[in-house]
Symmetry: C2
């Protein structure tokens, strides 16, 4: 099996959702941009839609014949890229009990366990290494550094440096910058979420990421912007793992964000600094409190 066609399957599923909304589909290049795939893939999708009687396809004419049924969709798990599959497996292992710092990581074993080729695992590990959780020994195995307290402290130290600087840069942006409209929109979303926090608290983490990325982008520094990937990854898995007090935590965070947004809009550097610090402090506390005291780094 040389390469899975998950790009096609995922785009097909997304295309099915478009069918509900229109009588006929747009041109091939347009569909390509819409779905984020090449025309080659678009044509495979159209071919199958024709075969299964979803559309009538003749050159420019792509008329919708019937609405999509559940069985038209490809199963969710077939739409994931290999990288996603490997990442999930790896993180499950990493966050599971028994993943102690200093432990060695075996490419071949990982590949066999997940059921993929070694190349994909190697490439994943190289990409993953920038998160600072693993390290390669030259000509030899990888070493797990572990999701320790030290890691969390080092991560938050950088995060705080970067975000304070980005927030200051944000507040100094000219009145006519497009970011103020983005911020307004995020503020509305925050207020809506705050109003229905009892039922929608689990939607917070997605909003959180969008909010912080907007701020980091104001730094206009690729290293700062890219570093948010590390934070996002950690928070993503961290929240999957630690559901304790989730609702209350998010409720507090939403309010902190609203205060932070107000400070940014005031454009007063002092207020921005205070609001940013306050939020970062509680974010750090949340992360730290979730790491068992016992998980300590092994002495090198």
């Amino acid at each position: 099996m040389s390469k899975s066609n998950n790009v096609y399957k995922d785009a097909f599923n997304r295309c099915l959702r478009l069918l509900d909304e229109t009588r006929s589909l747009p041109s091939e290049p347009e569909l390509g941009t819409l779905l984020g795939v090449s025309r080659t893939t678009v044509r495979s999708i159209l071919a199958r839609m024709e075969e299964t009687g979803l559309i009538a396809w003749n050159k420019r004419d792509k008329t919708v014949l019937r609405p999509p049924r559940p069985q038209d969709f490809f199963p969710e798990e077939e739409t994931d890229s290999l990288a996603e599959i490997i990442e999930r497996s790896f993180m499950r292992r990493l966050l599971a009990e028994g993943a102690e710092a200093g432990m060695q990581i075996n490419e071949l074993e990982l590949a066999r366990e997940i059921g993929v080729g070694t190349t994909s695992v190697r490439e994943f590990l190289i990409r993953f290494s920038r998160f600072g959780l693993i390290e390669k020994r030259r000509n030899s195995h990888w070493v797990l550094k572990g999701f320790t307290r030290a890691f969390a402290l080092e991560l938050t130290e950088i995060r705080e440096m970067f975000e304070l600087r980005s927030a200051a840069a944000f507040a100094a942006l000219p009145e006519d910058s497009a970011v103020w409209a983005d911020l307004d929109r995020l503020e509305v979303e925050h207020r809506q979420l705050a109003g229905e926090i009892a039922t929608r608290f689990n939607e917070f983490s997605e909003l959180d990421e969008r909010f912080h990325r907007l701020i980091h982008r104001a730094s206009h520094n690729r290293f700062i912007v890219d570093f948010y990937d590390v934070i996002a990854m950690i928070f993503h898995y961290h929240y999957q793992w630690n559901k304790a007090e989730e609702r209350q935590r998010n409720e507090v965070a939403v309010q902190e964000h609203l205060a932070y947004i107000a400070a940014l809009k005031s454009r007063d550097p002092g207020k921005v600094d205070t609001a940013c610090r306050k939020h970062l402090k509680s974010a750090r506390q949340t992360l730290l409190s979730s790491i068992p005291e016992g998980r300590q780094a092994q002495p090198a």
Copy 2:
């Protein structure tokens, strides 16, 4: 050709240099640690040394029969790892004329040009991406962001944040920390180099790297320590490329380092901050002045 034996060849060459110093070689495990390779490789080395009449090998006894001759060494170029070869080729292209921002990078073409498999090129590009000079388009090619003025400014911005913080942490280290002895040793090396700067100015960049890495390590933050890899890489190639005023630049930098070292030893935060800022400012100037004004990023 599945894998080159450069590890063996490089270790063999290094082992030859040991022959000059002793009558007989130590045990296999000891040699392994000394050369940084496994016993398997050590035994291949010993086998060849026996074959070529360099040593008499019988179990624990490894007597040196004759000093190594130039023709005993493997050619330098055969001792480089594939990753090094690819990196050099890639950087040559990147720094050559015509490597404009926005240009797309073709894995297959690169692999063919260098004469290696695509897997190795892919892995290199993934590793290299953390330097912020290239970026991957999902399911498609890599895009060159280019060694532009913007890149240099973003890089130095982070460097300055990190180094100021590390220097402050360094100065606050307890009297009995081992770093003070390291610093003393580096100071001596700086004074020696300063005395013979006319002839040895080209040895500065290696000393520079060791000095800054020592300071960064005081941060005890893996992200800060790792970031120095980005700086080191850029400076490494930058200095190969831009030899203008090298001697004078290095002469100034050595003096700035000595002032910086004195400030650290004073343990006065104000003095440290001043000396560090001064040096970083001139380092930034040097880097910026070497980037042609014309090299601008393409609009996205």
